[in-house]
Symmetry: C2
Subunit: 220 residues, 2 copies
Amino acid sequence: MTRTRIHNLSISLDGFACGEGQSAEAPMGHAGHRLHEWMIATRFGAPIMGLSGGTAGLDDAFAQQHEPGIGAEIMGSNKFGPPGWQDDPEWKGWWGENPPFHTPTFVLTHRPRTSIEMAGGTTFHFLDVSPVKALDLAREAAGGRDVRIGGGATMARDFIAAGLVDHIHLVQVPIVLGRGVRLWDGLEGMEGDYSVEAVSAPSGVTHLTFTRQSSLVGLC
Amino acid sequence: MTRTRIHNLSISLDGFACGEGQSAEAPMGHAGHRLHEWMIATRFGAPIMGLSGGTAGLDDAFAQQHEPGIGAEIMGSNKFGPPGWQDDPEWKGWWGENPPFHTPTFVLTHRPRTSIEMAGGTTFHFLDVSPVKALDLAREAAGGRDVRIGGGATMARDFIAAGLVDHIHLVQVPIVLGRGVRLWDGLEGMEGDYSVEAVSAPSGVTHLTFTRQSSLVGLC
């Protein structure tokens, strides 16, 4: 049975996964890099920023789970580009010619366009459909592997609220952002569907993992 | 130099320190006991609920810090009683004849009344003053010991926002309450004044401690 998974979704203490005022110059709004410094410091995250090296401890062990076993990603419109990217026919995402997805990647938008094939195995498809329908299509494209729910916070929240996510990995960063896009709104009681584990890392962040109850293995 | 301290302030993942719908029957609103189960399970917390025994591990080590070195407490109106307690001249708090404070205890309310001397060293004083003025009075009463900022969330937030709190111990419980009184509102950037530490406990909660930068000891 394949799973739908969220990985490395960073939030502030007050639950914001993105700051206020997103733009081409400030993809995370007033949060800047603060929500992702923990990841940039790891072997997983350093290359994404064009750096080499990085730590190989707890933070990296979690971060590396982002890739294995994934056959497709679904992302929200706000992850693919800054506000207004739909008006730019040349926009191909933030990530250059070889995006770090390497699978079919479905972008949810009310203004779909023709698919874009990138280097390294990433093909962007654009969909104006419900979460359930998007997941159907992504599962089919994933060829028996798992589907990653890529965020941002708004679409992650929508998929969680619809009961469509089996594994959620959040990273709580010890800052109070005050403004932005809050993950938790509308998710009252969600812990009832999951086994929840928290582990604090020496870097100062706390990793929260939610495993859907029905995914747990019975031993007897 | 004495300090002002917050201890054992439990919050949900989404930052609520109290549920919605507080009443005499439901002091924590729809949250019930869920924010404090971690504490009730400890040697510190069990006796408060009339139980014996309890764990003596990490959760208890944090919980026990509530008492030593405290010479006075300031609490908000919502901690002292259910909505409307000001209309009941016989109301003496939730805690029976021997409340667990054992020091002068200042209750912030817009409708002050005569002080009440309880058994065990607790005397309730009622004040309609600003946080700064309340802290002045509590410091004077504390006789050289520290002042505890007792909560609830609204007054804790006011005192933190006013820069009046040196030590903050929060306990994040892995539930999403969805509604209630949120601690974080208005505290954007507060981490800049503090050294922050997070440690997850085997019970599933995560202890967050904020130590004011100016309280840190220089070693050279």
